[in-house]
Symmetry: C2
Subunit: 336 residues, 2 copies
DNA sequence: CTGAAAGCGCTTACAG
DNA sequence: CTGAAAGCGCTTACAG
């Protein structure tokens, strides 16, 4: 039952021409190479009838490219990454490129393995939300002249294209909003990762407090360990909420922390109302459906995807090194 | 700045051995081939120092396999698929396989293109949540002897491995639960796709009504067009809710329909309480966080992923055709 | 207008 | 104990 796929050789034989001719026709060079219309027609008919598809592995080995773009993110099940992935996929598809993706779990070792995997598959370009520690591997890609765009996570040591949001400003906006609406005891719930994005989210928050003359000990900053299970996180948050009953506003630095946070609030029988405000990073259905609705800092997903793809194809299209661009987009505070 | 990666030839030259020897060492056949410990050490050191990684494209071309498993789903941004993808990725990774994935948007044409893409990249095995109309392409894979497992969507014409839930029974359970708790005017909100999964979800619902002696005209079945935007769906649902004010229980046949449904309910100022019950397919944070919490039919994600992977590796491990298995797992009704 | 041949980087049967 | 050589399926410079 096992049918072998036909090769260019089979087609050439059936059409009574050389494989060179078939290859030219396949690659749209038939006219340029002055192949007669009759031959073109004959070969194309045979290709059609056989259902012949060129072996891309052989093509990649020969040409050194693959028309594949590698996408490396922390966790593809995270809606932010899944959403971006889907948009990138759409946009790349239109240009004849496919996206190959995989998750790093925020481990440098896995990032490194993935980059090597992609390299060994001749992936043409890389879109990476990098784990800390991946600097060397990414620098390696740049040295080889591969198009690279980082997003979401910023690695200050690297001189490479980047697309992300202004995290400092986003947190600042959120905290300022709390303060303007009369909140006195603000909390930030964040994660204990030493990455720029997270550090900026904290810095913007702190800056707003300082500006408003709120003293350090009036606010709470809780750093949830990265590897925590949801249950552990909820427990930690319940603890914080009861230890600091005065808290009247909470900014959650990530989507999943906000979800755990809402569950924790539910558990302590507190309610979100005029005495307790909440803002979460990254909007989602979950916040729109919550009662009451939860305010959110929305990342411009479409624009992030557009900028990434634009930069990738700019590099793919030119043999020259293209100007390195660091794009910082504003997040939007959606008040509900 | 552009460094070329080294090849097996470079390593052989530096080590003063043939490429055959390097290849044997690379593939763990050094001992079997009686290569001296000294040579092994010398070659391995050079490989290490050079950071040499074998070109997988060349290897694939030669061996015909790739250690890649293709995963084809409707939409990777759908949490059900993203979750499964992540689990499959983990499990495959442990066995030295990578997952390559892409979305079909439920179009047979895109499914077909993806299958061809994967074929031309020598993908070793296929995991597919198939769009209707993809039968011929999938049959093609089976004819070529490729390991294939379908999931989520069932294609009755094909004799192929499948893992999914008992949709008939799940809907039946949900409707029965409504009836037992005294509901009289049940609604099913489903999508207008002619796929088995969806048809079973309707049939199970209808069957429970018939069993309970509830007449057709006392219940409502709304089929939302597949391509609808969320806004259109909400409008449709708002229309239904006001046209049938007696409805006291709603089963949503998909996750995204439930989300639109909750938004529609919110919009009509109705509330979910003892007068209006809701059950949704596929559990998620959103239902746990909703006030009140929403009951759900939970698919056993872990088990689905496990069964798929088990079947894939069973086939990958043997040259013989393996027994075809259709696994139907129960969904779990989580009452809240 | 078309073809023979080299080569991309590997693996492996064969030979010694 | 190790190597020369064929071949996987393509592309393309060169030749005629």
């Amino acid at each position: 039952m096992s049918t072998k796929a036909s090769s260019i050789k089979d087609i050439a034989k059936k059409a009574n021409v050389s494989i060179t001719t078939v290859s030219f026709i396949l690659n749209g060079k038939a006219v340029e190479k002055n192949i007669s219309a009759a031959v073109i027609k004959r070969v194309e008919d045979i290709i059609e009838a056989d259902g012949y598809k060129p072996n891309q592995v052989a093509r990649s080995l020969r040409t050194g490219n693959s028309h594949i773009i590698g996408l490396i993110v922390e966790d593809i099940a995270n809606p932010f990454f899944a959403g971006i992935a889907r948009m990138l996929e759409d946009r790349a598809y239109k240009k004849g490129y496919k996206i190959l993706y995989s998750s790093t779990e925020n481990k440098a070792s896995k990032t490194s393995e993935l980059i090597n995997l992609f390299k060994s598959r001749q992936v043409d370009a890389y879109i990476i939300a990098p784990a800390l520690g991946a600097e060397k591997d990414i620098q390696g890609l740049i040295n080889e002249g591969k198009p690279v765009v980082l997003f979401d996570r910023y690695l200050p040591e690297l001189d490479v294209n980047y697309v992300g949001i202004d995290n400092f400003d986003a947190s600042h906006q959120a905290a300022e909003n709390f303060i303007e609406s009369g909140k006195k005891h603000l909390a930030l719930v964040t994660v204990d990762l030493e990455i720029e994005q997270i550090k900026d989210r904290e810095a913007g928050f702190r800056h707003a407090l300082t500006e408003a003359g709120i003293k350090e000990d009036q606010s709470v900053i809780l750093k949830v360990p990265f590897g925590n299970t949801r249950e552990e996180t909820i427990e930690l948050l319940v603890g914080m909420l009861s230890a600091h009953p005065k808290i009247d506003a909470i900014l959650f630095a990530t989507n999943y922390l906000a979800i755990s946070g809402l569950l924790a609030i539910k558990k302590t029988k507190k309610v979100i109302n005029k005495h307790l405000s909440v803002i979460a990073y990254d909007d989602g259905d979950i916040f729109k459906l919550h009662t009451p609705q939860i305010s959110a800092l929305e990342q411009p997903l479409e624009e992030i995807a557009d900028r990434i793809i634009k930069k990738i194809f700019e590099q793919l299209g030119s043999k020259m090194p293209v100007t390195i661009e660091k794009t910082i987009l504003p997040a939007k505070l959606l008040l509900r």
